[in-house]
């Protein structure tokens, strides 16, 4: 009888420990998502929200120019790392007024993260019906 009580107690402890681990993982994931979102919001939105061309319009310009997801992301990353007038998709008037943006300070991984967020945010596939 004593053995059974000990066994049930041990099993309950194991189950509790497991559920605690899952909750901790979930919390970590949420934190990471928030961090990513923050990275995009921190590094991209503050500059663009005061521009006449919204990030959405820039997205549509890129989409119209590069079409596919892979080439879209690669082109955008290349431009952010080395912005040039020749490689910019923005209208000439816009560049004349605001000039070409400065070089990004984000690392490659951070750039990939923000570009992925950007792509998912405005992806037309999810919006057309």
């Amino acid at each position: 009888m004593i053995h059974k009580v000990v066994l049930i107690t041990l099993l309950s402890l194991v189950v509790m420990a497991e559920s605690t681990t899952v909750e901790a993982k979930q919390a970590d994931s949420n934190q990471t998502e928030a961090k990513k979102q923050n990275l995009y919001e921190l590094r991209c939105i503050p500059c663009h929200e005061h521009r006449p061309y919204s990030l959405e319009r820039v997205y549509m310009l890129y989409l119209k120019t590069f079409s596919g997801e892979t080439i879209f992301k690669a082109s955008l990353k290349a431009f952010l790392k080395e912005p040039m007038e020749e490689t910019s998709v923005m209208p000439d008037e816009w560049i004349d007024n605001f000039s070409v943006k400065s070089k990004t300070i984000l690392t490659d991984d951070e750039l990939d993260e923000v570009i992925n967020i950007y792509w998912d945010l405005y992806d037309v596939r999810n919006k057309l019906h």
């Binding site: 119209k64 080439i71 057309l128």
Partner: protein, 403 residues
């Protein structure tokens, strides 16, 4: 009863028939392939014609759709409804051939063909210069009007049938052309035999009549032997004469069937061939029962003569010929050289001889076969090389006199 039967001996031999069959098979295969090829080309040309007619319409639909996409791109995401049209359906794919949006009935699109048919629809692809909504490929789909298909198939079947008839006529012409050398050579041989046959009758009859009339009582033995040899030689030629006459002149005449006493006929023919058999010291063993058959007398004589003659000709020296006659069949068995079982089928072919050391044209058994076929008798040949041959002839039910 007078039977009109003129079934001649087969003009073509087995090998010639085989060649003819091969030629015909080759011709049919080539003609079929040619017609299929022409049909395929015609079908493809009609399909191309249909596509070129539809291309203008599809291109107009595509241009219309591009304008709608341009407006949608401009207004996006305020407007997110993909354009809809009652006349056609469309889909857009990006430069990496990933689907952006589709209203197509058939989702299996082909990026490499401008216009194509798929499951009762026609699809058309337009490559966009400005990638509105990221679209590089715009697909337009309409329902297929299969009237052109029905018309094309009717035309192919009609023209194919006419061409088949024309080519069949050509085929017959080619077959005749192909067979002409063979026919010519056989006709030449037949004509030669026919011409020479006329010249044989009188001298042979004269020789045989005079041999019969000669008084052998007063002859010395040496002369008797010489006379017997003359008699054998004359009878051999006479037998050949009768075969040739039958082959070239008699077999096409109208049959004059009558009841023939086969026992009497067998005895007469054995007596006739006795001197030939005696020359090879071949003995006869007869088991003859009464039997009659309703048949042309000349034709049954040719059957019996040829079978006995062959049994003597291809027998061993001092051999034996056993003739058995029953009510519904007779058997002629020899103890001769025999032939291989594979060659049995060929022995009835005209001008076929298995032993060149013996005389003859190889027409005897061919005559037997033609008569057997004419009267629907049944012949069965069993032969063992080096042991002999047994030929059994069964009479058709009703041919035997049951009265």
């Amino acid at each position: 009863m007078s039977v009109s039967k003129s079934k001649g001996t087969n003009l073509l031999r087995r090998s010639e028939k085989r060649s003819l069959r091969r030629f015909l098979a080759l011709y049919i295969i080539l003609v079929t392939m040619l017609l299929l090829l022409l049909g395929t080309f015609y079908y493809q040309s009609q399909e191309k014609l249909m596509f070129s007619n539809q291309r203008i319409l599809l291109s107009n639909h595509a241009n219309e759709e591009v304008q709608k996409l341009r407006r949608l791109h401009r207004d996006f995401p305020k407007r997110t409804e993909y354009p809809k049209d009652t006349d056609f359906r469309s889909a857009i794919y990006d430069i990496e051939r990933v689907k952006i949006f589709s209203r197509l009935q058939n989702p299996n699109v082909n990026f490499d063909k401008e216009v194509y048919r798929v499951n009762n629809t026609i699809q058309f692809v337009k490559y966009l210069d400005d990638y509105y909504l990221g679209a590089k490929y715009l697909f337009i789909e309409i329902d297929e009007n299969d009237e052109w298909y029905r018309n094309t198939m009717i035309e192919i079947l009609t023209l194919g049938s006419i061409a088949s008839v024309i080519l069949a006529i050509f085929g017959l012409f080619f077959v005749n052309l192909f067979l002409r050398p063979m026919k010519n050579s056989i006709t030449l041989l037949d004509n030669f035999i026919k011409d020479t046959t006329h010249e044989l009758n009188t001298p042979i009859s004269a020789i045989l009549a005079n041999v019969e009339m000669m008084d052998t009582e007063i002859m010395v033995d040496k002369n008797k032997r010489k006379l017997a040899r003359i008699n054998i030689a004359a009878k051999t030629v006479s037998h050949l004469y009768h075969d040739l006459t039958y082959l070239t002149l008699d077999h096409n005449r109208e049959s004059k069937d009558q009841w023939i006493d086969l026992k009497q006929l067998m005895e007469d023919r054995v007596e006739y061939f006795a001197i030939l058999a005696g020359a090879k010291k071949v003995n006869f063993e007869l088991h003859l029962n009464y039997s009659t058959i309703f048949i042309d007398s000349i034709k049954i004589a040719r059957v019996v003569d040829n079978l006995i003659s062959n049994a003597i000709k291809y027998n061993k020296r001092s051999g034996l010929i056993t003739i058995t006659l029953e009510k519904d069949h007779f058997i002629i068995q020899d103890s001769g050289i025999g032939i291989e079982s594979e060659q049995v089928g060929e022995m009835f072919e005209r001008y076929t001889r298995f032993n060149s050391s013996e005389g003859g044209f190889g027409i005897g058994l061919n005559i037997v076969k033609s008569i057997i076929e004419e009267y629907e008798l049944k012949i069965d040949v069993q032969s063992v090389l080096g042991e002999g041959t047994t030929i059994r002839v069964d009479f058709l039910k009703g041919t035997v006199d049951d009265t």
